[in-house]
Symmetry: C2
Subunit: 219 residues, 2 copies
DNA sequence: GCTATAACCGTACGTCTATATTGCTATCGG
DNA sequence: CCGATAGCAATATAGACGTACGGTTATAGC
C-alpha cells in the first residue's frame, strides 16, 4: 500500500481555509486556487480531497453547522446539568447565535453567506433546515424539561415557544450585524434577557409590559 | 439634439430584470449578458445605463429598499390615520417583512442575497443600514404616537421596543424561509400577533406568560 | 434636409475559473 | 528491496465573465 494521509484532517484544513476566505472576502471570492493557497497546498491536492467545488462548499457548511449546533447543545446540556432555569439556560445558549465577538462574528458571516447560497441549492438547504430544526427541537426539549420559579412548565406549546425565542435571537443577531452602532452588545443582550424573563419567569414575577428593562444604548 | 429615451424607465427595466434573476437563480447567476437578455435588450445598452456591474447592483438594491420601506411607511401611516392600536398597526406593517406570498417571498430573497453581499461591500452596507434604521425609527415613532387601550404609551423606550419587535419579525421571516414546513404561515402570524399583543396591550389585558396563543401548526 | 449626438447593437479582448490530465514521489505490504 | 498505489504538484484546457470599442440608427434642433 502507498503512503497514507489523515483524510479527515486534510479535509478539515481545506474547509477551514474556505471559512477564513468567506469571512474575509465573501463566498464569491472563494475559488479552489485561493482556497489551496490559503490552506497552504496545491490546487491538485484540493481536488484530490474534493472531487468538485460544490462538494467542498457543502462539506464546509456541514462542518460549520455541526460545530455550531454542537455548541448550542452543549450549552443547553450544561445548563440543564447545573439545574439552571429556562431563562438562564437559554440566555447562555442563544448568545451563541449572535455576532458579539470576533469568533462568533466570523461564524455568523459564514452562516449568512451559506444561508443565501442555500436559497438556490437543495443540498445546502437540506443541511440548513436540519440544523435549524435540530436547534429548535433541542430548545423545545429544554423548555419542556426546564423549570420556572422551581416548577416545571406545563401546558405550553414548547415547540412554538422555541420557534419564537430562537427567531427573536436570530433577528437580534441580524440587526447586530447590519448596524452594530445602533444595536450595541449591551442592548441586544438586554433585549434577549428581558424577553426570556418575560416569557419564562412570568408565573412568579409578573411582567410589566409597558416598561422596558433595556440597559439603554451604551457605546 | 438626438433621440431621447426615458432614462428612469430604462434603468427600471434593468433593475427589475436583475431582481427576477436573483429570485430565480441567485445573485451569482446575475451577469450583464443574462440581465440584458432578461430585460430584452443588448449588453451594450445595459452598459449605456450602468457604467459598471456594481452600479447596476447598487441601483437594484437601492430601488428594492426604497420600495420596501415606502410600503412599510405607508402601512404604518394608514394604521395611524385609521386610529388603530399599536399592535394592529404593526401587525399590518411587519407582515410585509415576511415571505408569505410569492411577491413578498421574491422580495425577501432579493433582500437576503444583498444582505450577504453587503457584508463585503461598503456601499451596499450603507444602503442596508439606512433602510433598517429608517424602518426602525418609523416603527419607534409609531409606538410613541400610538395608543394602547385608548391611552398613549409613555415611559417606554420606543426605539428599543422597535428594535425588538422588528428583530422578532425578521427572525420569523428567516425561519419561514428556511423551513416553511415546520414554520407555517399561520404559526408565524400567530406568533407575531401574540408577541405584539403581549407587549402593547399588557396594561389592560394582562399577559399570561406561561400559555401560548398559537394557532397550532395548520398546513 | 442636414447634422450633431444620444440611443443602441454586436463583438472582440483579456482575465479568471473549474476541472481534466499528466507525471513525480514517498511509503506500505510482500 | 521493490513495485503498486495513494499523496501531491504543475500545467493545460475550455468556457464564462466584465468591459472596451467600433459601428449603426434615429431624432431633435437648426
Amino acid at each position: 500500500m502507498p503512503r497514507v494521509a489523515d483524510h479527515h484532517a486534510r479535509r478539515g484544513q481545506i474547509t477551514d481555509a474556505v471559512q477564513r476566505l468567506v469571512v474575509r472576502h465573501g463566498l464569491t471570492a472563494v475559488t479552489v486556487a485561493r482556497t489551496a493557497a490559503e490552506a497552504g497546498m496545491s490546487v491538485g491536492l484540493v481536488q484530490h480531497y474534493f472531487t468538485a467545488k460544490d462538494e467542498m462548499l457543502l462539506a464546509t457548511f456541514t462542518r460549520v453547522n455541526r460545530r455550531f449546533s454542537a455548541r448550542v447543545d452543549e450549552l443547553v446540556n450544561r445548563g440543564e446539568a447545573e439545574g439552571r432555569t429556562i431563562a438562564e439556560m437559554l440566555r447562555q445558549a442563544l448568545a451563541e447565535l449572535m455576532p458579539l465577538d470576533d469568533a462568533r462574528r466570523a461564524e455568523f458571516l459564514v452562516r449568512l453567506a451559506f444561508t443565501d447560497q442555500a436559497a438556490h441549492n437543495a443540498r445546502l438547504a437540506a443541511v440548513q433546515r436540519e440544523t435549524h430544526v435540530g436547534i429548535r427541537s433541542r430548545v423545545a426539549q429544554a423548555i419542556r424539561n426546564g423549570t420556572v420559579c422551581g416548577e416545571v412548565v406545563q401546558g405550553t406549546d414548547a415547540a412554538d415557544q422555541a420557534l419564537r425565542i430562537v427567531a427573536f435571537a436570530e433577528g437580534l443577531a441580524l440587526h447586530t450585524h447590519i448596524d452594530p452602532d445602533t444595536t450595541p452588545k449591551s442592548a441586544v443582550l438586554a433585549a434577549l434577557d428581558d424577553q426570556l424573563g418575560r416569557v419564562f419567569t412570568g408565573t412568579c414575577r409578573r411582567a410589566q409590559p409597558g416598561s422596558s428593562a433595556a440597559g439603554g444604548t451604551v457605546p
